[in-house]
């Protein structure tokens, strides 16, 4: 055999190197991909009336990503967030979500605090086969209106309302119920839930006093609420409307004649209203920072959020942390970023992050979780600037969630097989 010439050797080596560079040799590709981050696209209203809440959620996202990266990332790859401002406008949310997918090549889309952002992002995610996870209330669990790649770790309106209604029933607060709410689609979902649960537990649903969104003066509506002579008044408002409503309901003294329950609230609203405004009002939340005394993971999260933001984390903030962590942990577990694969892995997934056990119900992607009913404290009883409430009871699991049949889904099949 003729000895191999140096030229031949060099050519062979060069060829092998070229083949290696472009080939599917797994270990080589893994080495190359290990340098490429997994991008999570985040769309939140960094400007506008929910900017503070958006900043809180971004902090929660940052902490979640740090936790994931500290544990080795996703498939050994570092996770990066690419953040865009929705400007509190649906058309901007849609544009930014599209940019995140088409330009930034985000593997997942997360964000949205309010409904119209969520709808815009869901439209983009579903069209591009990218998983979309909402930070705000998960209200798109309606057959015919959602796609199989939509997830929402936060509560649904039905869960929130049913938890409050079940709490009222268990605590024997009375059987005559009424609601005061802003008149748009989100509180209308609560009306449906409250009236359904009222029927189930034998309570009398006396209806709703509707106030326009953006109401500054709730006094004209309060006599009508008082005239209903309800034992329990559920108040379903949000942001500035809730702050004004809480102040004026306290002024009106409605709590003297009925139990007042804010269907859901956030720590930022109690802060804006001021100490004592929520005194004796009950409020539903997906999480409250007092849980740090019960769950070590909640304590760790509380400490990190406090160090980062110099304020206690709110319920939506904690839910955001859990959302991002759940998504990335799942992708890492199945060793894939493929949308269908991660979707199937999320369906039915059980986990526990900052509170009790939770599960993404397979048939509708609703997170089966506890809802916390908290009672507002008097100003003098607050131990620090964030101590607005005491947790009275955690209510939840399957008892609060609407059944899959009720939503129009087949309970025996995962959502990805139904639509």
């Amino acid at each position: 055999m003729r000895p191999t010439s140096r030229r031949t050797m060099l050519k062979t080596l060069a060829g092998a190197g070229a083949v290696t560079a472009v080939s599917g040799f797994p270990f080589v590709n893994r080495l190359a991909l290990g340098q490429q981050a997994v991008k999570v696209g985040v769309v939140v209203p960094q400007t506008g009336p929910m900017a503070l809440e958006a900043q809180e959620m971004l902090a929660a996202t940052q902490i979640a990503v740090e936790d994931i990266n500290a544990a080795g990332g996703v498939m050994g790859r570092k996770v990066e967030t690419v953040i865009r401002d929705s400007e509190f406008k649906p058309e901007v949310a849609k544009r930014k979500a599209t940019e995140l997918i088409e330009v930034e090549k985000a593997a997942f889309l997360v964000g949205a605090i309010v409904g119209f952002e969520g709808i815009a992002m869901a439209e983009v995610g579903c069209k591009n086969d990218v998983i979309v996870c909402f930070f705000g209330q998960n209200f798109l669990t309606v057959k015919g209106k959602m796609c199989k790649y939509q997830f929402g770790n936060n509560l649904t309106p039905y869960q929130t309302a049913a938890a409050a209604a079940n709490f009222v029933n268990e605590q024997k607060m009375g059987k005559k119920w009424h609601m005061l709410a802003n008149n748009y689609s989100w509180p209308q979902m609560f009306e449906r839930a409250y009236s359904l649960v009222a029927k189930q537990v034998g309570a009398e649903w006396t209806g709703v006093t509707w106030a326009p969104l953006g109401t500054r003066d709730f006094l004209p509506f309060l006599p009508k609420v008082a005239a209903a002579k309800a034992d329990v008044v559920f108040i379903t408002t949000w942001a500035a409307d809730q702050v004004a409503c809480a102040k004026q309901v306290q002024e009106f003294g409605l709590a003297r004649q009925a139990r007042v329950i804010h269907s859901i609230t956030e720590l930022t609203f109690a802060e804006a209203a001021g100490a004592g405004v929520y005194e004796n009002f009950y409020s539903g939340m997906p999480w409250y920072w007092h849980l740090k005394d019960k769950f070590p993971a909640a304590k760790r999260y509380y400490d990190r959020h406090m160090a980062l933001r110099k304020r206690a984390p709110g319920g939506y903030t904690a839910s955001t942390y859990s959302t991002v962590r759940l998504l990335l942990e799942t992708a890492n577990e199945v060793k894939s970023l493929e949308t269908d694969k991660v979707t199937r892995a999320l369906e039915g997934r059980k986990f526990q992050h900052l509170k009790g056990p939770e599960q993404i119900r397979a048939c509708d992607h609703v997170n089966i979780q506890d809802v916390y009913l908290c009672k507002g404290k008097a100003a003098g009883a607050m131990k620090d600037a964030w101590d607005f409430f005491d947790i009275v009871q955690g209510v939840g699991g399957e008892t609060s969630a609407e059944s899959c049949e009720g939503e129009g889904f087949d309970p025996k099949k995962p959502l990805s097989q139904q639509i």
């Binding site: 900017a51 326009p212 500054r216 006094l219 500035a240 002024e251 609203f269 209203a273």
Partner: protein, 281 residues
């Protein structure tokens, strides 16, 4: 409450437009700044009553700065009216951001003064609350003073004359520039006063001026630009319309006031009490 707040805020807007011909999109900001100035006073001194004075004074000074530093540069220029709209709209975007940078994004808690909490008396089935009576009372006390200012003082005479015929007032040698500054500051102070008395009942946030401004424009159109009586009547009419429609059929609450504005513009463009020939310009 709505009617009183709208009257106080819209008065300034109306007078500024009537005298200076500027549609002041920054006017809602003074309402918001009043709430913040009031909050700051209460934080520093603990006194709500002091805030009733310091907030209008402080915001009045801001008004002076805005008028002298910004608006005076566009008076007499080509398309001054349009420039005024753009400039004030720019301020309406910029100033809330400055407030966020200075005071942070969280809304500010503003407690009701202890002396004004609770019910004063009962009217049938309804409790009449002390703070609401206070708002009514203080507005009712302020309006005659404002009327006296506009109708029984030299400043008021110049303002009313300038509202009718600005050019003539200038030709008569009256220092219109100083009058405009005082008028603008007065408008800002009134809006700030409305802001501080509303603050215990609403969310104090940088965004709070936006919605009230739109309603004030409707009040001034319906009542008549540049007229005291028009603003009072318009404020009461729009405020009560919002309240009553909201109670009866909330979906139409906002629609009704826009319809009212459209109807007035069609049938009587100068407004219910506006002066003929002025508002049609």
């Amino acid at each position: 409450m709505n009617g009183c707040i709208l009257i106080l805020v819209a008065l300034g807007l109306s007078i500024v437009f009537g005298l200076m011909g500027i549609i002041n999109f920054a006017h809602g900001i003074f309402y918001m700044l009043g709430a913040y100035a009031g909050w700051l006073t209460v934080q520093l001194t603990g006194s709500f009553w002091l805030a009733l004075f310091t907030a209008p004074l402080a915001v009045g000074l801001v008004g002076v700065l805005v008028e002298r530093g910004v608006l005076q540069r566009i008076y007499g220029t080509k398309n001054a009216n349009f420039a005024g709209v753009l400039v004030t709209y720019g301020l309406a975007i910029m100033i809330p951001d400055l407030v966020r940078m200075t005071f942070g994004r969280p809304g500010k808690p503003f407690a009701m003064p202890a002396a004004l909490t609770g019910s004063l008396f009962r009217l049938g089935e309804i409790d009449v609350h002390a703070y609401r009576v206070f708002i009514l009372g203080v507005t009712a006390a302020l309006l005659p003073l404002l009327w006296l200012l506009l109708n029984r003082t030299n400043l008021g005479l110049v303002i009313r004359a300038g509202t009718s015929d600005n050019l003539m007032v200038q030709l008569l040698g009256i220092n219109v520039a100083r009058t405009w500054t005082i008028t603008y500051a007065l408008g800002a102070a009134l809006a700030a006063f409305a802001g501080v008395i509303t603050a215990p009942l609403v969310a104090v946030s940088p965004e709070m001026g936006g919605l009230v401004l739109i309603e004030c424009f409707i009040v001034t159109v319906v009542g008549g630009m540049g007229t005291f009586l028009g603003v009072v009547a318009g404020g009461l009419l729009i405020g009560e319309t919002l309240a009553i429609t909201g109670m009866l059929y909330d979906v139409f609450a906002d629609v009704v006031i826009y319809l009212a504005m459209a109807l007035v513009l069609l049938v009587r463009p100068r407004g219910l009490f506006g002066q003929e020939g002025m508002s049609e310009e």
